[in-house]
C-alpha cells in the first residue's frame, strides 16, 4: 500500500503541473511561431523555426507601447498614492483600539466583496461631473481607492508586528510622536511597504474593468484594454504578435509576484480567521 502511494502522488502532481503550466508554455511558444505555422493544422509545442520577430512586431504595433506607458503611469502614481495615504492610516488601525479599528477592519473586509457593478455606474457619473472620465487621473484615483483596503490590511499587519515597547522607549528618550514614527517605525516597516507597493502596482497594472468603463479614447487606453481590442476583429489579428504582447504584459506582474510570494502566503485569510 505504502509503495503505491508515492507514485500515485507524483502522477497527481504531474497532472497539476501540466494543467497549470501547459497554457503558459503554449502562450510563450506561440509568441515565437510564425503566422503561417500558427494558422496551419500541424500543431507542435516547439516552433519549427524561432520567429523572434513577433516581439518586434508587437512593439511596433499601433498603441501597444504608448498604452504600456499609460499603464505604467497609472500603476506607479496610484501605488505612490496608496502608500502615502495608507501608511499613516494603517498605523492608527494597528495601534489604536475601539470604534475606529473595528470600523476600519469591517470596511476592509466588506471591500473585498464590494459589488463593483453597482458602484461603477454612479462612479462614472461622479467622475464625469468633475471631468475625470476618459482621463488617466480619474483612473489613478479609482485604482488608489480600490487598492487601498488590501494595502491597509497588509500594512497594519506589519505595524502590529512592531513591538509597542520600542516606540515607548523612543518616546522616553524625548522623541516626539513624529520623530518616533520617522526614526523607529518607518524603517522597520520598509520591507512591508515594499511588498505592499508591489501588490498595489500589480493590481493596477492588471486592472481591466474600471479602465474599460472609464477610458474612451485609444490614446488613453491602458495595456489590458489595448490587448483586448486586438482580439476583437478575429480575422485581422496576427496571433504571433498578440501572444508576444501578452507575454510582455504579464512579465512585470509575474516578476513582482514571485518576489513577494512569501509575504502573500497566508494572505488575507490567515489574519482574518485568526484575528
Amino acid at each position: 500500500m505504502r509503495v503505491l502511494v508515492r507514485p500515485a502522488q507524483y502522477v497527481a502532481l504531474a497532472c497539476y503541473i501540466v494543467f497549470l503550466g501547459f497554457p503558459l508554455l503554449w502562450l510563450v511558444s506561440a509568441s515565437v511561431k510564425s503566422s503561417a505555422e500558427l494558422n496551419s493544422l500541424v500543431v507542435n509545442l516547439l516552433p519549427q523555426e524561432w520567429h523572434w520577430n513577433n516581439y518586434a512586431e508587437a512593439l511596433a504595433r499601433q498603441g501597444l507601447v504608448s498604452s504600456a506607458g499609460n499603464s505604467a503611469i497609472v500603476a506607479l502614481v496610484s501605488t505612490a498614492l496608496v502608500i502615502l495615504i495608507a501608511l499613516p492610516a494603517s498605523y492608527v488601525l494597528a495601534r489604536l483600539k475601539g470604534a475606529i479599528r473595528a470600523a476600519g477592519v469591517g470596511w476592509i473586509l466588506v471591500s473585498q466583496v464590494f459589488p463593483v457593478i453597482l458602484v461603477v455606474l454612479p462612479l462614472f457619473l461622479i467622475l464625469r461631473t468633475i471631468g475625470l472620465t476618459d482621463s488617466l487621473l480619474g483612473l489613478i484615483l479609482v485604482h488608489t481607492t480600490y487598492t487601498m483596503p488590501f494595502a491597509l490590511w497588509m500594512l497594519q499587519g506589519y505595524v502590529a508586528a512592531i513591538p509597542v515597547d520600542l516606540e515607548e522607549a523612543g518616546a522616553m528618550d524625548g522623541g516626539s510622536r513624529l520623530v518616533v514614527l520617522r526614526r523607529i517605525v518607518f524603517p522597520l516597516l520598509a520591507p512591508g511597504v515594499v511588498a505592499t507597493a508591489m501588490f498595489s502596482f500589480v493590481s493596477s497594472w492588471n486592472e481591466f474593468f474600471f479602465a474599460l468603463v472609464l477610458l474612451q479614447s485609444p490614446e488613453n487606453y491602458t495595456l489590458p484594454i489595448t490587448l483586448s481590442t486586438f482580439i476583437g476583429g478575429e480575422g485581422k489579428v496576427a496571433l504571433g504578435p498578440l501572444a508576444a504582447g501578452s507575454v510582455l504584459a504579464a512579465i512585470p506582474s509575474i516578476v513582482f509576484f514571485s518576489i513577494m510570494q512569501k509575504k502573500l502566503t497566508g494572505g488575507l485569510l490567515a489574519g482574518a480567521v485568526k484575528g
Binding site: Y16, L27, V113, L125, F208
Partner: protein, 319 residues
C-alpha cells in the same frame, strides 16, 4: 495578529512636565489619529461609499446615460419590470451555475494540490511557482491565452483530442453546449492558486502530533484526512469558499474577453448583462436595479451558507 497590539499602559501620572491631564492627552491623541486617517478616508467616502449609496438610489430612477441627465423617481418600477425580464433571469441562472461550479471545482482542485504540496514530494518549488503565476497574470492575458488553447483549428486541445482519435473540430468557445464548461475551466485555472496558498497555510498550522496520534490509533490516510485534517481546516474552507463564491459571482474581465457573453448568451454572466444594459443600452437606472438585486441575492445566499456552517460547528462541538 491582534494579540501583538496589547492595550497601551495608562500614562503614568507622575510623568513630569505634563500640564495636560489624561483626558486632554486622549483628545490630542484622538485628533492626531483622525488627522492620520483622514487622507485615506476621503477618497473612500467620495469614490466608494458615496457611489454605493447613489447606486442604490439610482435603482429607483429612470436615469439614462446621456449628457444632460433628467432623473425621475419611479419607485419600484425598475424592479417590477426586472421581475418579468426573462433574459435577466437566464443570465442570473448562468451566473449561479458559473459561480457555484467554479467555486466547488476550485476548492476540490486546490485542496488536492495543497495536500500534495504538504506531503514532502520533490518538484515542490516548481509547482509552487506554477501555482502562483495564474494569480499574478492580467486577466486579459489569461483570456487571450485560453482563446489560443481552445482555438478550433490550430489549438492544442483539439490537436490532442485528434491524436487520441476523438473528435477534433469542436469550437469550444462558440458551441452552445461547450462554451460555459470551457469558461468554467478557465475560471478554475485562475482562481485555484489563491485557494491553494490559503489552504496550504491552513494545513501547515495543523500540529503534526494530531496526525501522529491518529496514526498510532491505527487510522489510515483516508480516515486521518476526514477525522483530523478536514475538521481543522474547516474555518479556512468556509471563509475561502465564501470569498471565492463572491469573487466568482462578481467576475467580469475573464469572460468578457473570452466570449463577450456569447454564443447566444450562453456565457452571459449577470455582471456582463448589467454592464451592457448600462453602457450599451444606456439605461443606468434599470442597470442599477439589476445590481441591487444581485447584491441582495448574494448577501442572502451567503448568510444562509454561513449560518448553516456555524450551526454545524456548534453541533459538532456539543456532540
Amino acid at each position: 495578529m491582534t494579540a501583538v497590539t496589547s492595550p497601551r499602559p495608562p500614562t503614568p501620572a507622575s510623568r513630569p512636565g505634563r500640564r495636560r491631564g489624561p483626558s486632554g492627552l486622549d483628545r490630542a491623541r484622538r485628533r492626531e489619529a483622525a488627522a492620520l486617517v483622514m487622507p485615506s478616508l476621503l477618497p473612500i467616502l467620495v469614490l466608494s461609499v458615496a457611489p454605493l449609496l447613489m447606486g442604490v438610489l439610482l435603482a429607483f430612477t429612470d436615469a439614462e446615460l446621456v449628457r444632460q441627465p433628467d432623473y425621475q423617481f419611479v419607485g419600484a418600477d425598475n424592479f417590477t419590470r426586472l421581475a418579468g425580464n426573462s433574459l435577466f433571469w437566464d443570465s442570473f441562472r448562468i451566473g449561479m451555475t458559473w459561480a457555484i461550479a467554479v467555486t466547488l471545482l476550485q476548492l476540490v482542485a486546490a485542496l488536492g494540490l495543497a495536500l500534495l504540496l504538504n506531503s514532502g514530494l520533490r518538484l515542490q518549488s516548481l509547482t509552487r511557482v506554477l501555482a502562483l503565476i495564474p494569480w499574478a497574470m492580467p486577466p486579459v492575458v489569461v483570456a487571450i491565452m485560453w482563446k489560443m488553447i481552445y482555438s478550433p483549428n490550430a489549438g492544442p486541445l483539439n490537436a490532442f483530442l485528434g491524436s487520441l482519435g476523438l473528435p477534433d473540430d469542436i469550437n469550444w468557445l462558440a458551441d452552445f453546449s461547450t462554451a460555459l464548461p470551457a469558461v468554467i475551466v478557465v475560471g478554475v485555472w485562475v482562481g485555484m492558486p489563491q485557494t491553494t496558498v490559503t489552504l496550504l497555510a491552513g494545513l501547515q498550522q495543523i500540529p503534526p502530533e494530531l496526525n501522529e496520534a491518529a496514526s498510532m490509533d491505527g487510522a489510515g490516510a483516508w480516515r486521518r484526512f476526514w477525522a483530523v485534517t478536514m475538521p481543522s481546516l474547516r474555518p479556512i474552507v468556509t471563509s475561502i469558499t465564501s470569498l471565492n463564491f463572491i469573487w466568482n459571482f462578481n467576475s467580469f474581465s475573464l469572460v468578457y474577453v473570452l466570449t463577450e457573453g456569447g454564443p447566444g448568451g450562453r456565457t452571459m454572466l449577470p455582471m456582463l448583462f448589467t454592464y451592457l444594459e448600462a453602457f450599451k443600452n444606456r439605461n443606468i437606472g434599470y442597470a442599477a436595479a439589476m445590481g441591487v438585486v444581485l447584491v441582495v441575492v448574494v448577501v442572502l445566499l451567503l448568510a444562509v451558507y454561513l449560518r448553516s456552517q456555524f450551526r454545524d460547528d456548534r453541533a459538532e462541538k456539543k456532540g
